[in-house]
Symmetry: C2
Subunit: 507 residues, 2 copies
C-alpha cells in the first residue's frame, strides 16, 4: 500500500565513535532514499530520548504526508508495522460514514454510520447556514457538532474493533462544500449567495490535533471545484476511475442535488442541478425517505401491487426506488401511457380523487397524476443533463461506456425499472453501475494511494463546467425526455420488447 | 530583502460571477508566480472571513518559510508591509543576544543582551547537564528557563521600540549544541559522553507557538555539525562568508572552547579544542572576566604600566585582552624573553614572589611566571591549530587571505598585541579581522537571506573534521609556537622591527 501514511520498522546500529551522527540523522538517513528529506517536528524531537536507546535502536517510524513532504508523526519501540491504521470518511449532511482501515493490507476493519449532529441545528443545509450567519458563536457550535459527530464514529469504530482513535496515522474526508466549511469552522454563507465564491476549496492537509481529532497525523480533505461541486464529487470521481478510462463514462450523483460528470482520461464535463428532491420522493404526496414503512420496491401481479416495505410492516409511504418501480410497472402494464398519463380504462383501480386520477398502490396510499408529472419532469431533467453533455461532444447515449450512479438512490433503485422509465439509458446492464457511496470510496482510495493526490489535482484542472440553465436546446431535449421512456422509442429497444411481450397497444 | 518571511500587499478584485474562485484561491493565485504552492493552515483558513470582505480585498499576507514551502502565517487588513519585523538571536550559555530587525530594510531596530536564566542551574554547561540527567522534570526546568530568557529579551526589545513580539514574522537562533538541546527540551547528556552522538542537530523550522514564543511564524535554529561544532559556528561561517571566498581564510572562535575553520569556497577544514579558559583569563592568578574592575588594556611607559580598567575604577584583576597587551608590552620592552621567561635584570619591578618571578602591573596585582607559562601554552595551542591546518593543505600562514576572530575576545583584543605575542599571524593588519558576535550576525543574515539555507547545508556537507589530539606532528609544532612570538622569527617581521626599534638585544 502506497498511502498517505507509512509505518517503517528500522533496525539501526547504535552510535559509535566511527558513526556518531545524531539520533535524528540516524533515523532520517535510513528513510532518505525512499522518502526524501523527512521533517521531524518538535514533538518527535523531544521523543528521541529515551525511546532510541530504550528500544535498542529498533524502532517503528510513522510518517504522514503533510502536503509538502513526509513528516514523522510517531515513534514506537520495536516493530509495530502490523498495527497501521487510518480512517476515511464521507461527511454527509445527514449521515457521516466512516471506515477504519488496516493501511498495511487495505482491509476495512469496521464501518460506522452516524447521524450528523449538525441536524440539531436544522434538517436541511440552508437552515444551518442561516443559523450561523453573522453569529460566529453559532458557527463554532456547528463546527463543534461536526467534530463531535466524527467522535461518535471514532467511538463506534473503537467499540467494534478495540482499536483506539489515537492509533490512527492518517485520515481522509470527503464532503460537500458546506460540510467542509463547517468542519473547519469557515463561514458558509457565501456558498449559497451570489457570486458563489466560497471561502476555501483546497483545505489540503491539516493537522488532526488542530481540527480537534484525537490522533497525531494529518487529515486530508478532498478539494472542491465550486460551491455545488465539492470534495464529495472529486472523491467520487477518484473512486469511479473515469478520469483514467479511455471510454467515455457518465458519473451521476443523485442526492438532494444532482451532480453529473461526463468524460474520460482526456476531458471532463461537469454540471449540477436541483434534480434531487422529487427523485427522492420529496414532491410526491405520499413520498417519504427510505426509512421504516417506506415502499422501496413494487411489482404488479395482475391487478395487485406487491410492495416491499422497509422494516416489513405496514406501508406508510413510498421512497425513490419504490416510485421508479411503481411508474415502470404502471407503464409496462399499460396503466400509464407514453406521455405519462393514467389510462383509466386500463384498470378500475385507477380512480378519481381530489380532481385527478390516482392509483392505490398500497392500502390507503395513492399515487396521483400530479405525482407522476412531478417525477417525470425531474427524471427528464436528470436524463437530459446527460444527453445534453453527450450531444455536446457529438456522441449519443449508446456511446456511453459506463453509466455510474452514485449514492443511496443508485444503490437501491432497480436498474430495469430505471431503464423502463428512461431515467437510465438502455445500455447493456453490465454498463449500468450502481457505484454506491463513491464519496466514501474515494476517501478510502486516497488513504491508501498517495498518487491519487495528483489525479485529484488533475481532475480539478480538467473539469469544465457546463451551465444547463442558459441553454434553449436543453428545454427542447427535456420535453422529449419527459415521455416514458422517451419520445424517441428507438433508443429503448429493451423497453419496447417488454411492452410488446405484455401486449400493450401501440408498440 | 529576500528573507525567511515576507509581507505582500494584495489588491484583489472581489468575487464576481465571472470570477468566483474561493477566497483562498483568490489569495494563493496572486502569490503562485513568486512563491509556488503556498500552504494556508487551519488558523488562516478560519480568518478568511470576515477579513477578506471587511478589507475590501486589500490585504497584507505574511508568509513564513516552513522548511518545505511557504506558509501563510498572518492576514491583515490594508497595507501593513511597512511593519515587517523579525528577530535573530545568539543563544549563548551565559548571555542571549537578540536583535529586532526591520525585515523590509534590514535595519536593526534594537538590540538586547540578557543573562541566560539557565545560569541559575549552574554557571558552566556541564553542571546544568548533570542537573538534568535522568530527571525529565529538571530538563523541563532548563527548557522553561531558556524560553523565559528569550521572553526577557523580547520584553526588552519591546521596551526599546514599542514593538510587540506578536508583530514578529520569523525568528532565527544560533547556539551551540547544548543550548539548542535545552531550547527544544532534548536530553543533552549525549553531547558530552562517548560516543558524542547528539539527539538532534537539524532542528529545521519549528513553529514558534510550539516552542513557546509569542508569535505566529517559524523559528529557524541553525543546524550543527557535531557535538563541539554547533549551530553558532555554522552561523558564524555564514556571517564570515568564508565558504563563498576564493582566498583561503581562517575563522577562529575563541570562547570557553576554541573552534577553528580553515577553508574557502572549495573546502572547509574544521577542528576544536579546549583553548579557551586561559585566553579568557581563567587560569591566570589575578585573571577575571571582562567586567567592571578588569584591566582590559595595558601600555608601558618606561617603568610604568598604564592600565585601562573597565568601569574606570580601581583595578581588581585582568581579563584576556589585558593579558595579551601585558605580555606584548613586557616582551617589546625586554622584560620577558623569546622563551617567555621574565628577565629580572631588565627592571627592578620584576620581583620574586611565592618562589617565582612576577611583575606588579597594577597596585597589588601581580602577573606571575606561571601565568605566563599557562597563557603561552594556550596561545601556542590556538596558533598551532591554525598552522597545522594550513600545513595540511600545503600552505603557510602567509597565504591566509583573512584571519577572522569571532567572539568577545576577538572584539576587545588589540591586534598589534596579538601579533606581537604570536597569537595572530603577522599579516597586513587589514586582513586581521575582528568579526564580533558572528553567531548573532549569521542569525541576522539568515533572517534576511533565505538563500543562505542552501549555503548552510552546503557548509555542513563540506566540513571535514581534523582531529588534533591524535597527531604527533601537532605536539612538535606547538613547541615551536610556545615562543614569543614564535621560534621562527622570520614569520614575524613586524615584531622584529618593533623589538629593534626598542633596542632590545639579540634582534
Amino acid at each position: 500500500m502506497d498511502g498517505l501514511s507509512r509505518k517503517i520498522y528500522l533496525e539501526l546500529k547504535e552510535p559509535s565513535r566511527e558513526d556518531a551522527v545524531s539520533s535524528q540523522e540516524r533515523i532520517l538517513r535510513a528513510l532518505r532514499a525512499d522518502y526524501g528529506d523527512v521533517y521531524m517536528p518538535y514533538r518527535i524531537l523531544r521523543m528521541l530520548y529515551p525511546i532510541c536507546d530504550a528500544s535498542g535502536w529498533r524502532l517503528t517510524v510513522t510518517l504522514g504526508w503533510n502536503g509538502g513532504r513526509w513528516e514523522v508523526t510517531n515513534l514506537e519501540k520495536g516493530d509495530t508495522t502490523a498495527a497501521h491504521y487510518g480512517v476515511c470518511a464521507d461527511l454527509g449532511s445527514t449521515t457521516v460514514a466512516m471506515q477504519l482501515v488496516d493501511c498495511r493490507t487495505g482491509k476495512i476493519l469496521a464501518s460506522s454510520s452516524v447521524y450528523n449532529r449538525q441536524t440539531a441545528y436544522g434538517g436541511d443545509i440552508l437552515t444551518r447556514i442561516f443559523y450561523t450567519k453573522d453569529h460566529p458563536e453559532h458557527l463554532e457550535e456547528l463546527r463543534r457538532a461536526t467534530i463531535d459527530t466524527f467522535m461518535d464514529a471514532f467511538a463506534d469504530l473503537q467499540r467494534q474493533t478495540g482499536i483506539v482513535p489515537e492509533a490512527c496515522a492518517a485520515m481522509t474526508v470527503a464532503g460537500n462544500m458546506t460540510m467542509i466549511h463547517f468542519l473547519i469552522g469557515m463561514d458558509p454563507f457565501c456558498i449559497f449567495s451570489a457570486p458563489y465564491a466560497v471561502r476555501a476549496d483546497h483545505p489540503d492537509f491539516l493537522p488532526a490535533e488542530e481540527l480537534g481529532f484525537p490522533f497525531h497525523g494529518y487529515v486530508y480533505c478532498y478539494p472542491g471545484r465550486a460551491n455545488y461541486l465539492g470534495g464529495d464529487i472529486i472523491s467520487g470521481l477518484i473512486a469511479s476511475g473515469i478520469a483514467r478510462k479511455e471510454e467515455i463514462c457518465v458519473f451521476l450523483d443523485i442526492g438532494t442535488n444532482g451532480e453529473l460528470v461526463v468524460g474520460n482520461r482526456e476531458f471532463l464535463l461537469c454540471g449540477a442541478g436541483a434534480a434531487g428532491p422529487a427523485l427522492e420522493g420529496g414532491s410526491v404526496k405520499t413520498g417519504m425517505c427510505a426509512q421504516a414503512g417506506a415502499v422501496q420496491h413494487v411489482r404488479m401481479d395482475g391487478q395487485h401491487f406487491i410492495c416491499d416495505v422497509i422494516g416489513g410492516g405496514e406501508a406508510k409511504g413510498i421512497c425513490g426506488s419504490g416510485i421508479v418501480d411503481l411508474i415502470a410497472e404502471l407503464f409496462l402494464h399499460g396503466w400509464v401511457d407514453i406521455r405519462g398519463r393514467f389510462v383509466p380504462e386500463a384498470s378500475e383501480r385507477i380512480v378519481e380523487r381530489e380532481g385527478e386520477y390516482a392509483v392505490e398502490y398500497a392500502p390507503s396510499l395513492y399515487f396521483y397524476q400530479c405525482d407522476l408529472d412531478e417525477f417525470l419532469s425531474t427524471k427528464a431533467a436528470a436524463a437530459t443533463m446527460v444527453e445534453y453533455m453527450m450531444n455536446l461532444i457529438g456522441l449519443t447515449m449508446q456511446d456511453v461506456g459506463e453509466f455510474q450512479v452514485a449514492g443511496a438512490f443508485g444503490a437501491y433503485i432497480d436498474k430495469e425499472s430505471a431503464v423502463t422509465i428512461g431515467l437510465y439509458p438502455d445500455l447493456e446492464r453490465s454498463r449500468l453501475i450502481s457505484a454506491g457511496n463513491t464519496s466514501l470510496k474515494g476517501a478510502y482510495e486516497m488513504l491508501l494511494h498517495k498518487e491519487y493526490l495528483a489525479e485529484a489535482a488533475d481532475i480539478l484542472d480538467r473539469m469544465e463546467y457546463v451551465q444547463f440553465g442558459e441553454v434553449e436546446d436543453f428545454i427542447h431535449l427535456m420535453g422529449a425526455a419527459r415521455a416514458l421512456p422517451h419520445t424517441d422509442l428507438s433508443r429503448y429497444p429493451s423497453v419496447v420488447d417488454k411492452l410488446r411481450k405484455n401486449g400493450i397497444q401501440g408498440f
